[in-house]
């Protein structure tokens, strides 16, 4: 299940990372080596093993439905690369 240049291109698109041809070649090679090592776990028999997503098993951590203090719009937009009318500006979407 080696990763191909096409896979790397697709993954780059999913992750919104522009890659040039040289980068695609380099990352395909490097990710291939890492995935080969990571692929070691494929052979392990885990048939009846439950997955762990949290090492410390907490449950039902919920909060009361209560209001708190919001940021001022100035603080919310403090780091905005571009803003207008108290809103964040993004380039045209389509």
């Amino acid at each position: 299940m080696a990763i191909s240049e096409k896979d790397v291109k697709h993954v780059g698109w999913l992750a919104r990372l522009a890659l040039n041809d040289a980068e695609i070649r380099k990352f395909t090679q490097q990710l291939g080596v890492i995935l080969e090592h990571a692929g070691k776990i494929a052979g392990l028999d885990t048939e009846n093993v439950p997955p762990t997503s949290h090492a410390i098993p907490l449950k039902n951590v919920l909060r009361e439905d209560k209001l708190g203090v919001c940021l001022t719009p100035e603080a919310a937009l403090l780091n905005a690369p571009e803003k207008e009318n108290q809103a964040f500006v993004v380039p045209k979407i389509v």
């Binding site: 990763i3 992750a15 490097q30 080596v33 993004v90």
Partner: protein, 484 residues
């Protein structure tokens, strides 16, 4: 006297007895920074003005006869992955080069409330991804013991700041060894507490289920003191555990009578530099003197830990780092045609290669058709590793190993071979997968470079862990400092 050389507990006594002022103490640390910072480059941002303001406040308190806590007036550095309101927080990344948080992380806040003096924000591998601090997008940090070598990573700047006397203690974050490995390579104490003990609120996430904040200190007592104020339940972090806060300094004792110490054989063989192994084996003899029982044990699935880690951590990271998109904060590539271009180019320029590698790796492992084989399987392996630890802890109170398989390596040595770099964390990674606490304490030198002893505790077993570490430190008696 060179005040910057003091430990927290030494300095506290001097502050309380008014032998020194917080101002003098801070001046000493900043003049040390002036002297050595050009060589080691621990800091991304110095907060001298804030520091002197804080020192003044502490001095006023002391002068007015108010009681001060053990951390008041102590100059400390914070890894640049924790948000501090109004202070640039970059995560070592170009994408956050000019980012100024509007809130402060719980961990930093806890310490700031105790009156620490913030010296600055320290250098790190970009988004805490790396084991050498070479992945900082700004500059590499150098090991104070040998400036040609790496300090370890990802919290390299926090480690060197303490090792080089540029801070009395510091905060780091540890996802796969990022506190313990640099502590080992720099000859200081570094601890990763149990997952959930220290709030992650305000810690810029790398891999949420593995990240944990912890201290770098000059000795184990300082570590216990810092931990006392670092921990506590935080309602802002759903994964934060609720426990009665112990006083960890009370656990410090050099009597280990009856304490059982296991040595997992898997961590003493393959891939460990023989000289490092020898140093650790010599260190183990010290335990015998203090009444502990040392015996070999096994963690059979350890072989798979690194593989599982390099699926789980990148998978979580790929999602955590999606928010850096040039919309609400951070770098945005100027003059793009449309949104897609803006996303693609901003992230391509904003992130360095190692971050890109891990984002792609994680995206791949989670994507349709690969999830079960990679992410699903890795989560099951995680279960097996937890079971291995549980089994070992039925018999032993703590487990020990080398912290790092080698001493500090040369800058550039592993940078083009990601897998070799990943292997630096082979001893520390399993601990994060299981959420356990662990500490690295210096255990001698190999070829004039420090070696770290890695002690692993049970879940929430910080007291036993600190006790063993303290006892070792007292009986081993290592006290070398880098000649800078």
């Amino acid at each position: 006297m060179e005040l910057y050389k003091l430990t927290i507990h030494e300095a506290h006594e001097k502050l309380v007895s008014k032998e020194i002022s917080a101002r003098e103490f801070t001046e000493s640390v900043f003049s040390r920074i002036d002297k050595v910072e050009d060589k080691v480059r621990s800091y991304l941002t110095l907060t001298k003005e804030i520091a002197f303001g804080q020192a003044e406040k502490v001095d006023r308190k002391i002068a007015s006869g108010e009681k001060i806590g053990p951390l008041a007036g102590i100059p400390a550095a914070i890894k640049d992955v924790m948000c501090v309101e109004g202070v640039r927080t970059t995560c070592g990344s170009k994408i956050l080069e000019n980012y100024v948080p509007v809130y402060t992380s719980t961990a930093a806040k806890n310490l700031l409330n105790e009156g620490i003096i913030m010296t600055g924000k320290t250098n790190m591998d970009e988004f805490a991804m790396g084991s050498s601090t070479e992945n900082s997008r700004f500059f590499p940090t150098r090991n104070p013991w040998d400036l040609e070598r790496v300090p370890g990573g990802s919290s390299g700047g926090s480690a060197t700041a303490v090792a080089a006397g540029e801070a009395i203690f510091s905060l780091g974050s540890d996802t796969g060894g990022s506190i313990r490995q640099p502590a080992a390579l720099c000859g200081i104490v570094g601890m990763k507490p149990t997952y959930g003990l220290v709030s992650r609120y305000g810690l810029v996430a790398f891999a949420s289920s593995l990240d944990q904040i912890g201290p770098f200190t000059k000795d184990v007592r300082d570590c216990a003191i810092t931990l006392n104020y670092l921990i506590g339940h935080d309602p802002l972090d759903s994964t934060s555990v609720k426990i009665d806060k112990p006083d960890y300094t009370k656990a410090l004792s050099d009597d280990l009578k009856g304490v059982k110490i296991g040595v997992p054989r898997e961590l003493m063989v393959e891939g460990i530099d023989p000289k490092v192994r020898e140093a650790v084996e010599n260190a183990l003899e010290v335990f015998g003197k203090s009444g502990a029982i040392v015996a070999e044990t096994s963690l059979p699935n350890l072989d798979y830990a690194l593989s599982a880690y390099y699926i789980i951590a990148p998978a979580e990271a790929s999602s955590n780092l999606a928010r850096f998109d040039g919309v609400r904060y951070g770098y945005r590539v100027p003059g793009t045609e449309d949104l897609m271009d803006m996303y693609m180019l901003t992230r391509a320029e904003g992130f360095g290669d190692e971050v890109k590698r891990r984002i792609m790796l994680g995206t791949y492992a989670l994507s349709a058709g690969y999830y079960e084989a990679y992410y699903g399987q890795a989560q099951k392996v995680r279960t097996l590793i937890i079971r291995d630890f549980n089994r070992a802890f039925e018999e032993f109170d703590v487990l020990v190993s080398p912290t790092s398989p080698t001493t500090a390596f040369k800058i550039g040595e592993k940078i083009d071979d990601p897998l070799q770099m990943y292997l630096s964390d082979i001893c520390t990674i399993p601990v994060n997968l299981a959420g356990l606490p662990a500490i690295s304490v210096p255990c001698g030198m190999v070829d004039e470079l420090p070696v770290g002893l890695h002690i692993i505790g049970k879940t929430l077993g910080e007291e036993m862990l600190l006790k063993v570490a303290y006892s070792f430190e007292q009986n081993f008696g290592w006290n070398e400092k880098p000649a800078l």
